[in-house]
Amino acid sequence: MVDPDTAEKAAVDAQFAELYRQHLRDVYSYAYYRVGDHHDAEDLTEQTFLQAYRHFPRALEESGGRPLRPWLIRIAHNLAANHYRDRSRRPQTHIDESTVLPATHTTEDLVEGRDELKRILAGVQQLPDDRREALIMRFALGMDNREIARAMGRTDGATKVLLHRAIKQLEGIVDAKAKGGDR
């Protein structure tokens, strides 16, 4: 006869391996755009999955079958907040564009829109934390309003407003940069 606790643990471990496989890139992308540095993003990603593993059985129980990506991103968000509190520093202001843009965009994109994309990336870093995070979740991770709301602990309505304001503010920043010649 199989010990039910051990068999259950094996099943939970297998589910966690699947969660890891599906969302490693999401967590890393979030971490990278949040902290703006590959080294810190790796640390944040690793800590996120280690902490997620510790609390995974309870999260499974409480999720009621809903996707666990918002829960993972919320862990990453909390760890990033602690990271800045401990080190008393703000996120890096300069995303390393040389490692992001050339690796993930076509040559045509790079020729036609590289400057504009650079301005947008720089503008995202100037947004208040909650607006920046909402944009990262929507556009880098492809999360819908409901998922973002769960990750940020807000209502769906408040999240929709937050995203709208974030986009408007970013448009303003990018326009001002374009008119000011990137000064």
Binding site: S29, T45, F49, V100, L117, L135
Partner: protein, 115 residues
């Protein structure tokens, strides 16, 4: 700004905030953590008192540990095999070749976990 311009801006935003692939070393480090799950179950087996094994009533516990290690190991084989899928696709000449390479990879991973 008009709706069309706004939609265009969102398209640009999507291109700027493109997903970032994690470095391979990070995946390897995290895999080690998952492997330790499998090893923990194996250690439970090793630490079992040999004398206790003489009593058939005690056989269920180590058998469950074998099962746990095997299940976690299967998850790892699948994980590692899937992670190399891009490399295999690039190297394959056709679909049959890709299937052969995938099977070969999975068998190698299984041999590493259960020598």
């Amino acid at each position: 700004m008009s709706d069309a311009a706004s939609t265009e801006f969102e398209a640009l935003l999507r291109r700027a905030l493109t997903p970032v692939e994690p470095p391979a070393e990070l995946g390897a480090r995290l895999e080690e953590t998952l492997t330790s799950i499998s090893l923990a179950a194996a250690e439970e087996l090793e630490s079992w008192e040999l004398s206790a094994m003489r009593d058939p009533r005690n056989w269920a516990r180590p058998a469950a540990a074998v099962l746990a290690g095997t299940a976690a190991g299967v998850a790892l084989v699948v994980l590692r095999t899937k992670q190399r899928s891009k490399q295999r696709r690039r190297a394959s000449k056709n679909v049959v070749d890709l299937a052969e390479r995938t099977l070969h990879d999975a068998l190698n991973e299984a041999r590493r976990l259960w020598p």
